[in-house]
Symmetry: C2
Subunit: 303 residues, 2 copies
Amino acid sequence: MVESLSSWQKTVTRETILEFVEAVTAPGSPDFVPPEARIATFDNDGTLWCEKPTYIQLLFTIARLKELAAADPALRDQPAYRAAGEADLAFFAGLYPHDVQTLMQMVFDTHSGMSQGEFQAQAFHFLNAARHPRFNVPFKQLTYKPMVELLHYLKAHEFKVYIASAGGMSFVRPVSEEIYGIPREQVIGSNITFETRMTSNGPVLFRKPGLIEPLDDGPGKPVNIELHIGRKPILAAGNADGDIEMLWYSETSGPKSLQLVLNHDDAQREYAYTGPAAQRVFPLAHERGWIVISMKDDWRQVF
Amino acid sequence: MVESLSSWQKTVTRETILEFVEAVTAPGSPDFVPPEARIATFDNDGTLWCEKPTYIQLLFTIARLKELAAADPALRDQPAYRAAGEADLAFFAGLYPHDVQTLMQMVFDTHSGMSQGEFQAQAFHFLNAARHPRFNVPFKQLTYKPMVELLHYLKAHEFKVYIASAGGMSFVRPVSEEIYGIPREQVIGSNITFETRMTSNGPVLFRKPGLIEPLDDGPGKPVNIELHIGRKPILAAGNADGDIEMLWYSETSGPKSLQLVLNHDDAQREYAYTGPAAQRVFPLAHERGWIVISMKDDWRQVF
């Protein structure tokens, strides 16, 4: 028999996860949860795949800005296009929260103005072809092996596993089945607006500048979980302050629930960081009994 | 062996449905569609359950207005509350499209200002307890038996069946599993806005006045299908002009698809109507080869 979660170290973290799944799935268990209520929600960036040196979707955006400037040299005078041409990550890192307007314009320039099919083909191509600057593999290979194992383990125990990403829903869906075993309809994320246009080939969905509120971050995560699932997760996993509401929301699902917070403390195999996006989540995890996963100590393997 | 779709007459309509399902599911069929792409989307009002003498959700709204006026007599001076007290359906029928502001205010008064849990309990209670004025049964029993049979038949053939209702998603979800065998996460509809509020019991979802765009009607149906499913339906069913974009969109899913349009032509067993909400759909069905279901001729039984 293959051992479950074999790329996890045999620490209390792994033991806690195994015990939780046993408690909610074993027939006759006092904490038994029927399959239809076994909902799990996972953040994506920094929880399921690598988010350094910056978000994969931002690297995609930068690559698209370069392509657009190659096609239309007049664009190169704009700061964002110039920074993209010079691979100046610091420029982009400085945009939030000081220059959200430039950031949004970048997103609209690269994520709208095409059909939904065209956009997803671009995302698919990028995730397959472009390579991570340090690990030198296609981005779609930068999923965390222990987390992917956990997704499959939950699925094998009749959990319905969703991604709840602050990033773009349409960016992740083209690869979610392949890299996580999660069908595209179980990927929730942020979205720009869409419209149905009648064409000679019938109705086609076009992507428009504009954001669908709420963004799938912070208090927006429980909102979108309700819209897409209509049930509370009994297991939630994240790594940053934007996951706090989702983690806490899962506590309200019933007597037995599990919250996981990934701590990036492994500079050697991945990165060591908390940074401004993860200031509150670790003290809160300690206070509320959420399980902190140490990448360094709890994982035998990272990728 | 129990015969499939036994409450359908043995007409060409039933035959066409059976042949389509056979063609897309039989192994080795040239039109075979793998299970993950077997998406079907059904309108709800007038397609799966009765929408006369008016929408069930409008009757719920009127009942709620009466309750609110009973608790706060000052409200009775407002026209909508007065009309609710007098069961004046004509008043409500006249609001659209001439007085959308009053209509929206009614919706916000009765559908927001409470937690999501409280609202769904109210909807559940209404659908179980209130009775249809003509048929004198609880509203949740006013589903069309042949359509429910079809939902189960599709499910048995590994279709994933969704409701795509112009009505409220949260209004239908509390009963969708029971009356249709459709789990709540497969119900798509229109929504008012939500917010996550921190309370002493953790995060709670509250319903706020305001609408989430787009409404799930007309061109909004393909948009919400993309957001919730991310695939095109290979089978779509509706009964009104607000379903046209969804029906046509399903044609673009691939070489083989099926569109069903229910014609209410049975005054004796249900109602006979087309009315202003179904002006364009029948000529278009004729033009594009969508299957028109005659309630009178194609169904052995209605409820």
